[in-house]
Point group: C2
Chain length 185, copies 2
DNA sequence: TATGGAACCATACAGTCGTATGGAAACCAT
DNA sequence: ATGGTTTCCATACGACTGTATGGTTCCATA
């Protein structure tokens, strides 16, 4: 029988996982379901990721890298309020893509509480973003402390925005962000 | 055979669920595990909660009620900055009990993204706390908007505090809270 | 003390999970 | 063309899961 294998890359699999997780939560992102979503067999997934934990870790790492890349593209030579706004805006669900991202990110963050491999990725991610924010704050007093608070606050905004009954619409998000930055620089 | 039944109340069951969830995450809080933790049989759990979903909903509601009760005890006649600080402090993991609470709360919040019953409870909780905060802000301009931002920010602080690599120690939490309130009133 | 309902238990069922196994198909260097 | 490696599939296994069933114990009330 002539058979044509699909181009089953790890990237395609993590993308399928994102789809499932965004729609039905991480719990629904089982090996079987992800395989079906990607149009491949269970074995194909197993070939690229030996265990489910590795699959999750790879997906989480890819997601984190995506956010990091966006932040890394921000021009740090821009004047302070603007560059801070730009960095922080990357963390907010201001469009459909970032809303999906924030949803999946929140799911991973929750699971990181009980998964050592995910916790490690999360810890690195938090530290890096905090450092980036500290840098974006320039030579202000207590930049590190301010960065930590700003980061947590924006993360909270993102979480409330994607929560049921969060009550934070898109334009309220940007207004809140501007208010935060205005009061914190 | 002489048998002695344990005092199996719904409260004892939800308490057992909190224990399991705080230690090993909500995923680990299966009907069997919760029953074992409470020292009763599966059937006893089934008797009080017809389904696992109902068990989760009852536990989440109880947790939410606890937070709400603490907030309700705050004296709203105190001067503005103090009463706002007091309300918001109740949301932060400033002691061991509230740390456990924040952990379990975060787990429920994550699950609310895919569980309609939990989502309903969460939506009500968010709305109520936001209203409480708005009231605590008194007759300030844009009190509602400020309340939403403050709430999200404090929730973010709580989340980062209990996250791996969150990097927010206890005294930093109170400092951040004071800074937030100072800049927002 | 008889009786009915509430509380609780032991067990079983079907379904899903992650993972292991053995082989087939595809590709690649020789 | 051939042998080896990578890629992928079909299937099976044991360990769970939530829930259903039928029975037992307890307790209040009559």
């Amino acid at each position: 029988m002539v058979r044509q294998y699909a181009a089953t890359s790890p990237e395609a699999l993590t993308e399928a996982l994102f789809d499932v997780a965004a729609e039905s939560g991480l719990d629904a992102a089982t090996v079987r379901v992800v395989a079906a979503r990607a149009g491949v067999s269970i074995g194909a997934v197993q070939h690229h990721f030996a265990t489910k934990d590795q699959m999750y870790a790879a997906a989480f790492a890819a997601l984190v890298a995506r956010v990091r890349a966006r932040i890394g593209r921000v021009d740090l030579t821009a004047p302070l309020p603007e560059r801070l706004l730009t960095v922080l805006a990357e963390l907010l669900p201001l469009d459909k893509a970032r809303t999906r991202e924030a949803r999946v990110m929140a799911a991973f963050a929750a699971r990181a509480a009980t998964s050592p491999s995910l916790a490690a990725i999360q810890a690195a991610q938090l530290a890096e973003i905090r450092a980036e924010l500290t840098e974006a704050l320039g030579d202000l007093d207590h930049a590190e402390q301010r960065a930590a608070v700003l980061f947590a606050a924006v993360d909270g905004l993102a979480l409330h925005a994607v929560s049921s009954g969060g009550g934070l619409k898109r334009h309220q998000l940007t207004a809140a962000l501007e208010e935060l930055v205005r009061r914190f620089v």
